[in-house]
Amino acid sequence: MISAENIEKSYGEVKALRGVSLEVKEGELFGLIGPDGAGKTSLIRILVTLLKPDKGSATVNQLDVVDDFRKLRKQIGYMPGRFSLYPDLSVEENMTFFATVFGTTIEENYHLVKDIYQQIEPFKERLAGRLSGGMKQKLALSCALIHAPKVLVLDEPTTGVDAVSRKEFWEMLKRLQKMGITILVSTPYMDEANLCDRVALIQDGNILTINTPERVTQNHESILWAVRSDNMYLCIRDLRKHPGVKTVFGFGEFLHITLRDNTISPTALEKYLKERCHTNIAINPIEPGIEDVFMDLMQKHDN
């Protein structure tokens, strides 16, 4: 449904995308995951015809994003990163406006947006600028869907939205997927990766890996331990000094460490830490999450 090949894009000196290729299948919920400044927005803007790639090509629904951009614009639903509706128009006026712009009416495609729109309909007289963050996102999504697009592209829809609204938002995306809409969504939140069918990890204009969330973590070769002690700061320093430890990153109340080889055991490491006066030591081997994989891939990439 969406296919990008070797896309490069620079803004002056800054290289935003350095040869990005990806393929999104029809009906898929595809996640584009990476930190701020990784190139997510640039890639998305190229795919929705807002920017031209410097090199490479991309098609959405077999339409070229540069040559067939007019036709393509009728078939894409796009929700930009920041709130891009008219704050001085009411909820209903925003909806009506975007419906008219796409040559349709709210009634015609009401079935598509019904689930979402019903939640904000009680406030339809309210100006969009006075809605809460979560409701703004719902309205923006409704507006992006009003013309029944085949492909829905969302740029960081959950950034700055509270945890409950985020969860609701992903449930809505799942429901839309069931209606047959192909969805490409970008997010800086690693924990949202598990909600996608497949994810692409992007960093510094390069795609690090593309796979299902399960495979991404399964393919992770390194052994991962979660470590904690009373003095976390010293703990990081001492672990980094240990010759068998490859990486140390803080993950909430634990440190996640990867090992160079399998020669050291948890007990050996505990002994090592005890010798350096650490107390309350806990070491548990764990399954890696997306975030661990991301850190690992980033490290490899940088080297």
Binding site: R45, V48, L50, K74, Y78, R82, L85, F98
Partner: protein, 368 residues
């Protein structure tokens, strides 16, 4: 078509819901017209003068009475000697002192000649010039009537008539000028700001991704301001007529045609500005710098173009307001027909086409 209607409806919502926009659209034109009409005036009314009458005879009293009853002058002080003149000017309250020499009336009867000295405060040279002319005219007029049977030497007396504006009313020039200024401000500045606002707020991203064509976006943005600007022009013409008595001597339809041509020109300029600005502040700055000040200074609105240095005279040719003011004055005050102003209309149309052409070329279908 339906898309366009929806777009225009949205645009009206933006305008009517923003009190600042409403103020600029309807408050400023009225205030500006009143200000220009009443405050910046070149007419003389109730100028304060002092009189030093060394003669105190019937003739000087009558001339003094004539001066003060003309409506142009108001007596501030009667002076006793020349020493006071300097001082009273320094105080700054009075604009003119009229000095009658001793035995004024007797000399006049005996020699047919007497001296009256008119001293004006020329720190404001235009006013000083006007005051002395008015005084001179009143004195001459008096003498003519008084000594109608007297054998005065044969002289040629010019009869001056001020055509199209007999009483030299300032409002006659300020109404067309204000209209030129306000229409260009509203049309060009407001449209450029409203287009750039969509870019700044990110809504342009969605509009671009939608099937809307660029001319839909532009027409949708501009159409409301065309309607509101026409309304504004009607308000200004109406106020000019009712408050300042500025007539529309020519065809009203022709006048409105000129107004609409000028509005379209200003709108195209606004679109052009919007394509080169990426923030509302920049659009506003560009509009004020390249439109407002030159329109006031170089269009012949306040200062006659003929008096400018040659370089500025040439430059005034590219001021849209210059051609508009010429055409509007011709229709409103001289009552001429299309035959006399086709040149101005043609120039404005040409400018519009040029600006639109550049805008269409520069309008971005993408974000870069």
């Amino acid at each position: 078509m339906k898309q366009l209607r929806g777009f225009i409806r949205k645009e009206f919502h933006h305008i009517f819901r923003d009190s600042r926009t409403m103020l600029i659209l309807f408050g400023i034109p009225i205030i500006q017209l009143l200000l220009f009409g009443y405050v910046i005036t070149t007419e003389i009314k109730d100028a304060r003068i002092a009189i030093l009458d060394k003669s105190h005879d019937e003739v000087t009293r009558e001339i003094t009475h004539k001066l003060l009853s003309s409506g142009y002058f108001r007596l501030d002080a009667m002076l006793d000697n020349e020493g006071q003149i300097d001082n009273i000017f320094r105080q700054g309250n009075i604009k003119e002192v009229v000095v009658f020499e001793q035995n004024f009336g007797k000399k006049l009867e005996r020699d047919g000649k007497a001296d009256v000295q008119v001293i004006t405060d020329a720190s404001d040279p235009n006013t000083a010039q006007l005051l002395s002319n008015y005084t001179n005219a009143i004195v001459q007029d008096y003498l003519q009537k008084k000594f109608v049977n007297y054998k005065i030497p044969l002289e040629i007396k010019p009869q001056v008539r001020m055509l199209f504006n007999e009483s030299l009313m300032g409002a006659f020039t300020y109404v067309p000028g204000t209209m030129a200024l306000i229409l260009i401000l509203i049309s060009a500045m407001m449209t450029s700001i409203t287009i750039v606002r969509e870019k700044e707020m990110g809504t342009m991203e969605i509009l671009l991704v939608s099937p809307l064509k660029s001319h839909h976006i532009i027409i949708g943005k501009v159409a409301p301001y065309l309607i509101l600007s026409i309304l504004n022009a009607l308000i200004i013409i109406g106020m000019g007529y009712l408050i300042f008595g500025v007539p529309v001597r020519g065809s009203f339809i022709l006048l409105m045609f000129v107004v609409i041509v000028y509005i379209l020109l200003a709108l195209s300029l606004g679109i052009l500005i919007s394509t080169i600005s990426d923030s509302q502040v920049k659009a506003m700055f560009v509009s004020v710098m390249i439109l407002m000040l030159p329109t006031i200074l170089l269009s012949g609105f306040i200062y006659p173009i003929d008096n400018m240095p040659v370089a500025l005279q040439v430059f005034s040719n590219i001021m849209p307001a210059r051609w508009f003011i010429e055409a509007v004055k011709a229709v409103m005050l001289k009552g001429v027909g299309t035959g006399y102003i086709w040149k101005q209309i043609l120039i404005m149309t040409g400018m519009t086409i040029l600006f639109l052409g550049i805008s269409v070329k520069k309008f971005k279908l993408r974000l870069e």
